[in-house]
């Protein structure tokens, strides 16, 4: 690693743009979050107090946190299980990988079109339920909407995570595995003693990318249900968009800062947890 300033030359252009479109805007929003009145008359914590008492903010935050808390472990475990299966049955290999990856490439528009037919009150799923003699479910206008969103997230991100895990699995020395087998270690023992410890290093990146992608379910939720979907899928992104449109800019600023602080803490904690992770600087 060369310790010199030509590094700056390479990042100069990027840094300029990041300053204009990300860093300065962030400082701007930080300033706005502490000022009340349109001209920033007084400085204080009023905005934060206000949004913490705001019903919509509470619901949206709760939903977003709940979504991440449900999805990330589910995605990690499911994708790890499938990738261990693929790893131990290499013959399946590429075809299975491809079919799990394809959803990444399916445009959100196609997904949304299918949703409209599948989950409508008179849609395909209710038709099936009805013909089997069950009661129909109001999918998009009930708490089921949350789980549809979870399903759609898993569907889209499974393949990506399988690839990430397979990469980590590929670093295990096969001789270690077979030696453990010879010593009579059970499947579970091998999983907990060999496989899991060796994929641990990649986990920081896997989790960071999984959280990053979890924010993108807003697209499906918005395109299917608009600005005001059912309460169970009213996410912070809906709320911020609505505040933006209603010119509730002080609230928007405070909400944005609060959310970003939570996110930053989360990233720092994750990084601490996996200090030896892949992105060592």
């Amino acid at each position: 690693m060369r310790n010199n300033r030509s590094g700056y030359l390479f990042i100069l252009l990027s840094l300029a743009g990041v300053s204009v479109f990300l860093m300065l805007p962030y400082l701007d929003i930080l300033l706005k979050s502490f000022s009340t009145g349109n001209e920033g008359v007084s400085i204080g914590l009023d905005n934060f107090k206000q949004i913490l008492q705001n019903e919509a903010f509470r619901i949206a935050t709760k939903n977003t946190v709940r979504f991440i808390a449900v999805c990330i472990p589910l995605l990690l475990i499911l994708s790890l299980a499938i990738s261990i299966y693929i790893y131990e049955n290499p013959k399946l290999g590429s075809m299975v990988k491809t079919s799990f990856l394809i959803p990444m490439a399916i445009p959100v528009t196609s997904v949304v079109l299918m949703w409209r037919f599948l989950f409508d009150d008179n849609g395909i799923l209710n038709g099936i339920l009805c013909s089997l003699g069950f009661n129909t479910v109001s999918w998009m206008n009930g708490s089921a909407a949350f789980w549809i969103l979870v399903g759609s997230y898993i569907w889209k991100n499974l393949g990506y995570n399988i690839i990430l895990w397979l990469a980590a699995l590929a670093t295990i020395d096969p001789q270690v595995q077979s030696a453990a087998k010879l010593d009579g270690a059970s499947g579970f023992q091998r999983l907990f003693r060999i496989t899991l410890p060796s994929v641990k290093n990649g986990t920081f990146i896997v989790v960071v990318l999984a959280i990053l992608n979890s924010f993108k379910v807003f697209r499906e939720a918005y395109l299917v249900a608009g600005d005001y979907p059912h309460d169970s899928i009213y996410l912070t992104q809906h709320l911020f968009n609505n505040w933006f449109r209603e010119l509730e800019l002080n609230k928007l600023a405070a909400g944005a800062v609060l959310d970003s602080v939570i996110l930053i803490i989360l990233i720092l904690v994750l990084q601490k947890c996996w200090k030896k992770g892949g992105t060592k600087l």
Binding site: V108, T109, L113, A168, I264
Partner: protein, 280 residues
């Protein structure tokens, strides 16, 4: 026995995972009458029936595609908007993010760690956090309600820097040092060692970003007002289902480039994703 159950499980998942693409294709090939009768439950609320759907259309027809070609010129305008956004963002990122990733991966300079951490944080922030000040910046630059309002900030996104960085990190330092001893300049090293070695990482980042901007919703929704400047992803979902056939055909047409590019780049994509988890 155990592996048979596993195989069943995996095939079941694989089917679920692939079905939506098939669903769109089938819908786009159904004739007008078949669609109308299948979808009666949704289209006409007075009809008390459910949507019925079959695995294959009774009669294949390309009528929907013909109609979209002849009667929906708007579709192609928006299709090109999406294409322009994708191309603009990707060219921008190639010029901006690739050198930046190299700078972060290969040099030590004051504040590097802090800056890179900031890049990771900005990569994670949902768009809505910065939408207000970004709106003000774009308005000052006079870019609101143009495709540039999506392209320009997109060109500076930090995600590709992060992905490509992990790739450049894998280049052995001795190789770079050897080139330096031979008298190669820093830019020369970047072009003759960095770019070739990082090729699949760069390709992976670009494919991921293509897929991202092919589906862009948040930015155009706020920054673009004129309907004829919207990308496809904002227009299609609002289509009237009276023309379900056209909606299906449009959805399938927007799926083709996406799946095609994905398949073409799948290998680099996989090796690119791989590089992000492995410490070398």
């Amino acid at each position: 026995m155990k592996s048979k159950a596993g195989l069943m499980c995996v095939s079941f998942f694989a089917f679920i995972v692939l079905y939506p693409a098939l669903f769109i294709l089938i819908g786009s090939l159904m004739g007008e009458e078949e669609l109308a009768s299948n979808l009666a439950g949704i289209l006409d609320k007075s009809v008390d029936d459910y949507v019925s759907w079959s695995l294959i259309p009774k009669e294949c027809s390309i009528e929907s595609y013909r109609q979209i070609m002849l009667f929906e010129p708007g579709f192609f305008v928006l299709f090109w908007n999406t294409v322009k956004i994708c191309i603009g963002v990707i060219i921008g990122q190639l010029l901006i993010a690739v050198p930046a990733a190299w700078g972060f991966a290969m040099y030590d300079f004051p504040l590097k760690k802090v800056l890179f951490m900031l890049y990771i944080i900005f990569m994670m922030l949902p768009f809505q956090v910065l939408m207000l000040p970004e709106y003000l910046v774009l308005s000052r630059l006079g870019l609101l309600d143009t495709l540039w309002s999506v392209i320009l900030p997109g060109a500076f996104s930090t995600f590709p820097v992060f992905i490509i960085y992990n790739f450049f990190k894998g280049i052995p330092e001795e190789e770079v040092e050897a080139a330096r001893l031979d008298g190669a300049g820093e830019f020369r090293i970047f072009f003759s060692i960095g770019i070739p070695a990082g090729r699949s990482g760069i390709a992976a980042a670009m494919i991921l970003q293509f897929l991202e901007y092919w589906n862009i919703v948040e930015q155009p929704m706020i920054f673009i007002d004129s309907e004829e400047k919207l990308p496809l992803s904002l227009y299609l979902p609002n289509m009237n289902l009276e023309n379900a056939g056209i909606a299906f055909a449009a959805a399938f047409l927007s799926l083709i480039p996406s799946v095609l590019i994905f398949r073409l780049g799948q290998e680099s994509l996989e090796s690119g994703i791989t590089a992000t988890t492995i410490k070398r």
